[in-house]
Symmetry: C3
Subunit: 498 residues, 3 copies
């Protein structure tokens, strides 16, 4: 293998952009930059514009607590005067990192994991740990029903491309698991071409991936870069709706789309009045006048007195009491992010029975629901009078009940087909009538609930809302009729109660 | 009921943001702010950034007329030195407001209506009054055909959720009526929790709502906040396309979508050259180089000499001669916004017969059409040569005729089904073939017309355009075939001419 | 005909915006501006903000070569001190321009063509000439298969509106040809109303149009204004994604949509860190930290040393090795933009056989594919490590193969229907089963490939991805079943190998 000596170029250019006096780069990071500023200038330039490149740990700790973006109380064995450069993050916990490799004399991890970020952001990582996002991959793979759905749609478990192609797992990685995360493993080393000639690097499998539930080569879960992307790690980007929109998109999770067409979206997209997306803490009225996803769901908000309106959280369930998407019926939030452990009262791996009854166990109590609703209502009240906020959620609960009853209608049609032996419940996702049924709740009922939750009405009317749900119901009825005439037999009764 | 004393907090912080000398807050508004700046800081911050918080009536009247945003000629019994604060708007016309209530010693209206805004903006409110937007709720409720459509889709009149749930009206309020407006009524008082403890407030029904045809507790119609949202009342936001996009969205009214993919949208979204969305009057070339919805449809435009290119209007029909959406066929604009009064020559509550003939009465004359086309063409000519503008509308008229003939094709299929007794015309929106027929005109023909009107071609090709219309025609033909084999009988003949 | 004298108005206002000293307007352009700044202020204002209005040819040539936006080496017979005004562009090559006309004493071309732009931008025009975009109209009209598709969908060749309306060609012009370009011809002169009264102008047919393959009245092809719109000719607009999104939109070419939901789109849309879209050359890391379409596909990129990462190109195939949209199967890029000359090994006008085998001739070699992949990978490496970039394209190739095999499945269903005489292959776009088949590859397989190409996963999952492809496959199977029962006979065998 050819190894090429470091090129010491452009260091002057780079140094001029460095911050002042006591905050400085480690010698290791300087070595990284010598090459990477020339060979990956986009990456280095992104980092140069970040707070990591401008503020040392000591400087960060000198800020009042409410303004800090780190959550360590004090320095442990860290050098407080150092800036947070390449090496500071890519060299952590090498023993745990199966992706650690010798890179021009330095022991480097390819993938920086939440457990590495924990060095300076322990509270945020702890909030995230165990959340639904942290479990996002598990939720798909450890729940046999969702695993069947994923496999049927994208092919790893028997689908349109199943018999045809040996690489079928890639389709899952590039669709469902792109958001939910892959398990990134290391299969030894491989030699690749780089601008410095051939180099030896870890042979990562199911990579690149930035899904929120990614399993990392150090065994940890999650990917901070999902929302704080690339090397700017920007809170501004995370607070902008485009971040969330990458996964929370129509037709299955139209959160971004609904928000965009709501008054909130209207005002934010208009850019009037101009908002400050970088302020910590974040002050409604002062820093922004209409919320993005982050404002309502996870940012630290304070009033003009500095009193906390809502604490920062990286568990997005903390301000949510009802779960309105991804499943046939709305239901109380689960106790834990490990939703694959839930069972409905019929023993199926779902939080709700197929007739709409929430599971007796594993969901939060009425009291906890009320507490979380109050938490969110307080956020609303930052900008809305109490009547507005209270009435809004009254309507929201009524709409959830209506959407649930529309799902019950569709489920009754499917159940009839199963009972008549016209649909095989062994796999609930692979026959026409089943696909229409899934569409009923996964797209249309979800859209209707979200449209009211965030007051973006088109998604409850003509766009994946009541219009589609009544058309889909007729299509299911016609499909049942067709199946009855064809008398296509089916085998089992998945729905039957035990 | 527990009443809590005012908290006098943060007043210093707030005062620093106040405007200078002769323009000042009323003592009532100061009282509002004492609490609300702490308890609803987002709301107060929004207002603080508004012109209302910075400019008194006298200061506004001191501007040259073309630069004014108010339309009173002089002060009546108003205090010209006062800023326009909370109390100035929320205390008007208390006798008419059924939502007026005692709020810590002040008589406050919850809902500020256009009739309240009329105090300073009489011309704008008069323009709006009687327009299609002003009648937006009436158009759905007073036209039996549209009422049937709304009821069938969203459930208040017999639909997928009709028999299931007592709260079915909420589905309509949160979908169709979210844009068209609800009738907001007051059902006595109720006690709610606020940050100051329990307070007694009007028990508003079908609220919150910001639909353009809302019927307010003072009996007035409309909602200025639909387009000038929340407490900034910003002309900048109203002129940005996101405002209009809240309701004028695909699939039924893809105005925003078509504009966004047009050259106009391309340039505006790019933000180059930078535009000034707050300038009054608005100067093409100087303040902006590509139009948003407002530029073409309602803003006051002047040329570099200050000559008026187009007068400001809040009746959006003023520059429109053809009506291209919401109905099967294109047709001349109606005389009045009260379109529920229209009847086609077959006595149906439509502006056009089902075979495409415009109603003999109630539509604007050819002469009026020409005048309005000239008005709009002048707006085009601000940026385009005369040949361009003239040729553009020649194509537009041809496309309307083509889209209309595609609708006639689909209507012929439906008519055949009705004549054979295979479809029941009693309700035109609840059977599969009918739903396909509605989709033909409400989504696809509309899209095709709009795509040419604003030169955003994808909505006339693969996205809800000719592609979908030819597929839908085949689906209607297949459905007719299926119905014929099933020999499902139907009862009445809605289409038959009398 | 009434002719009105020039109005010499507002010239002072205008002059104040002019650039300094040596760069000046021609007297002809000054004459244009006398009227047009009053009568088309939006157009003039747009130009005034452009580089054309601020920089003479000599000033442009004085810049270092890498910073130039013109590509002439030196002045030929041009006046180097003149700014580039109306007359400089609209008077070129009058002998070739059938749209040249006498306009108040000046010989003016209505349409400025790439051959006119060539005067100062010869390299860019040469790059564009012969590309797929340059041939965009030919590709639709000279390939009998695509011509049939266009005709069937939009009506010029026998479709839903075919028998009904004489103006059917307009539907094609305003849909497919709006992006691909029309052939703009001149049918003598006509008299139109202008703000100066009646004037005589060329009677242009199939105009306005800004399609990329437009055939111009001077016989040239292309339209620079497609991407450098109106009179700002802005590189900033061309580099923003909205430009490309006008045509590269879901469902058929969801490039913009996929990018928008990718990390690239997320960061760019967020506007953090702030990017400079006007810098030439363009420096990753310095000028931008996440790419728009232009960054990866055609802009001149340099590293901090000024070394070229990728040369500027106006042939968008230069950095592409696989062609992933517009056709059933992915395949190597064609040798030439004249794709209508391609034939698959069965003699059909396609680059790939219907069973997926690439044509033996007319596609680039494996070596050329590797070279182009390396070119693009170098762009990726501006911001990504080598492992990331290499692994990304490994996945991309696997997904292309998977999507191709899904298309083969659908094609097998259609072939079976044709072989049984249930579908008539004479026209492959006009029967239900055929339309479902087209949707399979034109929408869904394309989306899946693009979703991986740019890492925007929703378009390979629920939004036009694997979800839709497996539903569509079942719909095709059901349609085949239905056709078999109906025993509808068909005539010919288009698919049969010769």
């Amino acid at each position: 293998m050819k190894r090429v000596a470091f090129l010491v170029l452009g260091i002057g250019l780079f140094c001029s952009a460095l911050p002042a006096a006591t905050a400085e780069l480690s010698s290791e990071t300087e070595a990284c930059l010598e090459c990477h500023q020339i060979y990956t200038p986009g990456l280095v330039g992104d980092w140069e514009k970040s707070r990591h490149a401008k503020r040392s740990l000591s400087q960060a700790l000198a800020l009042p607590e409410s303004q800090r973006r780190i959550s360590i109380e004090n320095l442990s064995d860290q050098d407080g005067d150092q800036l947070i450069g390449c090496y500071e993050c890519h060299s952590l916990n090498p023993d745990k990192h199966k992706d650690n490799f010798d890179h021009f004399g330095y022991e480097i991890n390819v993938v920086v994991s939440p457990e590495d970020c924990r060095s300076c952001h322990p509270v945020e990582v702890s909030q995230y740990t165990g959340s639904k996002k942290w479990h996002a991959l598990d939720i798909l793979t450890k729940n046999p029903l969702f695993d069947q759905m994923v496999g049927t749609i994208t092919g790893h478990g028997g689908s349109v491309v199943h018999s045809v192609h040996p690489e079928k797992g890639v389709a899952t990685d590039e669709s469902c698991y792109a958001c939910h995360g892959t398990e990134v493993t290391v299969d030894g080393l491989k030699i690749i071409d780089s601008q410095l000639g051939e180099i030896e690097v870890p042979n990562l499998q199911r990579w690149p991936n930035t899904g929120v539930g990614r399993i990392n080569p150090d065994g940890s879960r999650g990917s901070c870069t999902s929302c704080h992307p690339r090397h700017s790690f920007s809170i501004e980007i995370a607070r902008k709706p485009y971040t969330c929109s990458q996964c929370h998109l129509e037709p299955d999770v139209p959160a971004y789309n609904v928000w965009k067409e709501s008054k909130h979206g209207n005002i934010v997209m208009s850019g009037f009045p101009k908002a400050d997306y970088g302020a910590v803490p974040w002050r409604p009225g002062e820093d922004f006048t209409a919320p993005t996803c982050a404002a309502c769901h996870n940012s630290l908000l304070v009033n003009p007195d500095g009193d906390v309106i809502a604490q920062r959280t990286h568990n997005f369930a903390d301000r949510l009491w009802v779960r309105i998407f991804g499943l046939p019926y709305s239901h109380p939030q689960p106790d834990s992010g490990a939703t694959f452990l839930l069972q409905n009262d019929d023993g199926q791996p779902l939080p709700v029975s197929l007739d709409g009854k929430p599971a007796s166990q594993g969901l939060i109590s009425q009291k906890e629901q009320s507490l979380r609703q109050e938490l969110m209502t307080n956020v609303c009240k930052s900008c809305h009078g109490s009547t507005w906020a209270v009435s809004h959620f009254e309507k929201f609960h009524k709409i959830n009940a209506l959407a649930d009853s529309a799902v019950a209608d569709a489920t009754a049609i499917l159940t009839k087909a199963i009972e008549k032996g016209l649909t095989d419940p062994e796999n609930l996702f692979d026959e026409s009538l089943e696909i229409l049924w899934v569409r009923h709740w996964l797209f249309y009922a979800n859209s209707i609930r979200m449209a009211t939750a965030m007051a973006g009405p088109d998604y409850s009317s003509f766009k994946n809302g009541w219009w589609e749900i009544q058309l889909n119901k007729r299509q299911m009825e016609n499909e049942l009729l067709r199946l009855g005439k064809n008398k296509e037999p089916e085998k089992k009764r998945w729905f039957q109660k035990k």
